[in-house]
């Protein structure tokens, strides 16, 4: 296990090869996490995925690549992010001790950029000139547009028109960063449809285009690659917690849509059986109402966007429309590694309603001076359920995955009716 005195940002320690001594070893060579994952894509994408996989396998353990990656994470993203004691929330509950892993302080305002830095470096190395991405809340779109500006690559972001309305600020940020934002009018006009369009673009322009997927979803090797690029979150958390508390946390909480911030903070702790891992998914108006994005509570295994995982679907096996007040969690699927962790019981997943998440936005803002993203607030809301059951000295780390600036439109409408 990591030693608290080591500098967090040394690639030797942070290189993904560290995980080789861990017992948990997924995905397998076919890209499966237990029964989930795989490569369910049109034949045209197979050569591209094969090429990506072999290139990624090279850079994964390449000291130079990782040195450069960690250089960008430090000098550009602003890592390491702090582990902040949420002192008034801790006092409020009177049991346990709550820490926030401050991914909201990353450049662009969320964890998403950890992944886009890694993928854009890979794209550049593979000689691709054009980057495409899908986005829901716009955070991944902004993080992609940002690194494309930084690395000098053409950038096209697909975004559902419904999300463009909800997240206008992020649309303008992407444009300002030089990206082209293509509105998607098919289906529910949200993240699922934006992902369909991005895949269609990729199928058409596969020779010169790199698709930067924003969550731990999609065909192999994406779920593994996205996880590995976010592993820095868990790695820092582990070192910081050891440094501050002298031991690992008892609980780690994160919100789960596709599941990138969650797998980023969970992955390090999977073999530490005493660390309880909890994922919070969006119940929307309630997981029994039909207007929900609670994939584990209401979904069944199925294939969407290239992998086999849990999915919200109709009795005819059509993909059901998800609903959440948070655009980032408004997705009918979930990453295949989470599906595996759900089935094995290693991670517990619970639904949190729009209402409880919005109350948490307010509570966290007033008590901690941190306006969280509505996505993140789903995890914060769970403290209401979790904290009363804890003993005084139990440590809870919550991944504060993003800040709420982008949500001010929704927040204003919800609380102040404007």
């Amino acid at each position: 296990m990591a030693n608290s005195n080591t500098n967090i940002l040394t690639p030797e320690k942070n290189g993904v090869n560290v995980s080789e001594d861990l017992k948990y070893s997924f995905p397998d060579t076919r890209g499966y996490f237990g029964s989930f994952g795989g490569k369910f894509v049109p034949e045209i994408l197979i050569p591209a995925l094969d090429q990506l996989e072999s290139e990624y396998n090279v850079v994964k353990t390449d000291p130079d690549f990782n040195k450069e990656r960690f250089h960008h994470l430090k000098e550009y993203v602003g890592r390491p992010t702090p582990l902040t004691l949420a002192s008034r929330l801790t006092e409020h509950y009177g049991t346990g001790k709550i820490y926030f892993k401050r991914e909201d302080l990353c450049h662009t305002g969320a964890h998403k950029i950890n992944n886009t830095i890694g993928q854009v470096m890979l794209a550049k190395r593979m000689g691709k000139k054009r980057i495409i991405a899908e986005t829901g809340a716009g955070q991944h779109g902004v993080a992609t547009a940002t690194v494309c500006a930084r690395f000098g690559l053409e950038c096209v972001v697909y975004m559902g028109e419904e999300d463009m309305r909800r997240q206008k600020l992020n649309v303008d940020r992407m444009k300002l960063l030089g990206a082209e934002v293509r509105g998607v009018t098919s289906g529910s006009r949200t993240l699922k449809d934006a992902t369909n369009e991005a895949i269609r673009d990729w199928v058409t322009n596969v020779e010169d285009t790199f698709y930067i997927i924003g969550s731990a979803v999609g065909p192999h090797p994406y779920p593994m690659m996205v996880r590995d690029f976010h592993d820095v979150i868990g790695l820092e958390t582990e070192s910081q917690c050891l440094e501050i508390e002298g031991r690992l946390p008892d609980y780690v909480l994160a919100c789960v849509g596709g599941g990138s911030n969650a797998i980023g903070i969970f992955y390090r702790f999977i073999n530490d059986k005493n660390v309880k891992l909890i994922g919070l998914e969006a119940a929307g108006e309630g997981e029994t109402t039909g207007k929900t994005a609670a994939t584990f509570a209401k979904g069944k295994p199925g294939v969407l966007h290239g992998s086999l995982s849990y999915l919200l679907q109709t009795p005819q096996g059509q993909i059901a429309l998800a609903h959440s007040i948070s655009a980032g969690l408004d997705y009918p699927g979930v990453g295949p590694e989470h599906a595996h962790l759900f089935d094995t019981g290693r991670v517990k997943y619970y639904p949190v309603s729009d209402k409880d998440a919005m109350a948490a936005v307010k509570r966290c803002s007033e008590m901690e001076g941190i306006i969280p993203a509505i996505e993140t607030a789903h995890a914060i809301a769970w403290l209401e359920k979790l904290m009363p059951s804890l003993s005084k000295d139990e440590i809870v780390v919550l991944n504060c995955s993003g800040r709420g600036d982008k949500d001010m439109g929704t927040i204003s409408e919800y609380f102040y009716g404007s």
Partner: protein, 279 residues
Amino acid sequence: MQTAIENTEATYISPRLLKVFEAAGFKKVMNLFITAGFPTIEDTVDLILGYEKNGADIIELGMPFSDPLADGPTIQYSSEVALSNGLMMDDIFAMVAEVRKHTQIPIILMGYINPLLYYGIDRFFENAATAGVDGLILPDVPVEESGLIQIASQNNKLPLIYLVAPNSTDERMRLVDKKSGGFVYCVSVTGVTGARTAAEVSSSVERFIDRINEHITQNPVLIGFGISSYEDAVRISERARGFVVGSALINNIRDERDKNPNDWKDAHFKFVHRLKHGN
């Protein structure tokens, strides 16, 4: 990349499909795609029978899916219409069974894996085979993932037909040939389904067809994506056994229905006749 796929037994080929290719001789085989339940559930059987009368040799019947990511806007549209018409999986089998009362034209079902998973893989293959289906195209199931369906496919003598694309390697073409039962579907350009201009279906098709003819030797090759007229069909399928038309049919149905909502089928069938015969 090593693939862990092994062919445990020779791939079955439907006698109806074999017969079509034998009978065609040097003539091009025309495979027509229509989304089941489009424009209405009642139209599908009529369309299939009319297509056969007007030159279709094979019917590819689309099983609509909410998120058809290998298809362009045209087939996404027809799929949405079919789903909003309330089409169920069992309706598709009923359509095939109804067609079988009249004709032995080979019918290939084309669709995405998720509705099959939900329906149950074994149940799907049993019911499809019983109804009289001759093969299955699942564009989101490459040979890597064929383990999901391989046993049901073999048990029910209902083979998969796989695709190759211009960026497929030679080795890949041989693998797809080995795993396919009936024909191999060649995608003429990279991209999703949809009608295209001649310039888009570029001369690189020539080199692609050279490679196809060298590496795909067990199955006949049908070429598709971007064919919307007799002239396209002649040019693109010059060195293949035949061709597939899909989006152009859907577009034509939409046009003819706009012009004449109650009596559009004759005009549509004329379009089909021209695709095959040029007049």
